[in-house]
């Protein structure tokens, strides 16, 4: 079985990208190799980190294209040139269009800092904190055409502590993100994930 090429989309520091890339490079995720990283933000820290990993890192400027579709086509071209099997969205702040999703159906994994379907969209940790839940967490899922609605791969629960702030809570969630995202990528690369309708069966 050929190793899978894992590429990344990131808009920020991409600590989740780093957590996965490290485990690919160390061999903990054994059936994968590093592809490219694409960012829509020129000074995203993730670009620098990717280069430190010896990866190709591309800034693809959304303002240089006439439409979202054109921007995405340029990105998809880069991903295909790298023979990408799996895309990891690690804090990528754009909604993918149906075109992009179809090109990589059930091959784009997103990490979301809440127990979906609770608190989709941005600032999920703060949404949960402000709502007053006692348990929140994080979710890995395949991206479909909705916002954070795709088939769920893994989830981890994180209790809200009495003295938490939105920030301290977000930090504890992030630690769990760094656990389930590499695990999900590993399962994908070992062909252990099967999507059946809305459900992801771990074989």
């Amino acid at each position: 079985m050929r190793k899978k090429v894992v590429s990344f989309l990131a808009s920020g520091r991409g600590s989740n990208f780093q957590a996965v890339a490290r485990k690919i490079q160390s061999g903990d995720i054994s059936r994968a190799c590093l592809g490219v990283l694409v960012s829509d933000v020129p000074d995203a820290k993730a670009l620098e980190i990717a280069r430190d990993f010896g990866m190709k890192a591309h800034f693809v400027d959304p303002r240089a294209f006439a439409s979202r579709a054109a921007h995405e086509k340029a990105i998809v071209k880069l991903l295909k040139e790298a023979n990408t099997d799996l895309i990891v969205a690690a804090g990528y702040m754009r909604i993918l269009t149906p075109y992009f999703v179809r090109e990589y159906k059930n091959r784009i994994i997103n990490i979301h800092p809440a127990l979906l379907p609770s608190f989709p969209g941005v600032h999920a940790q703060k949404q949960a904190f402000d709502y007053g839940v006692k348990i929140t967490g994080c979710t890995t899922h395949f991206i479909d055409e909705g916002t954070d609605t795709g088939p769920i791969i893994m989830q981890r629960a994180v209790p809200v502590e009495p003295d938490d702030t939105a920030e301290s809570l977000a930090e504890r969630i992030l630690k769990e993100e760094h656990v389930i995202l590499p695990l999900s990528v590993d399962l994908f690369c070992r062909d252990k994930l099967e999507v059946k309708g809305r459900k992801v069966v771990i074989k």
Copy 2:
């Protein structure tokens, strides 16, 4: 400190009612005594169980009243006659009107078989199962004027197992309901719950 009178609303067998009543009777919930049980279903098993506990149990027929408000007024009258401090909705299948909620503001506890705000409304366990979440659970909350939107008291996470059916999942969730509902009632009766905006602080 006077003991709190805890009354119940139930439409079915009321296993959650039973879990709480048992702990009140045994003294595990020490600062409470049993009030009345009201059901909107004539042959609800909960009516019988309540009588076995030596409680007054009332069937209040919704069809005997011209309006929901009139039905609720009759129920509130019974609750007040019993000097009810806290109402536990244990599988009560009617939405309470704002009138009822205001009469007992932050004094009606509901148990919901999902990690709210995910999967409000009926058949929450099956909703979660069909959605394909990997973690669900249960929630106790004060009832407000929305459907399962009130301030959250406690939550318990329950993982979905690979060989689960909606039924086996519901059974495991029910076990956790029987834990957090009595705990929540106990906290209330010991004046340990403080509602601050949307949040319930456990003192």
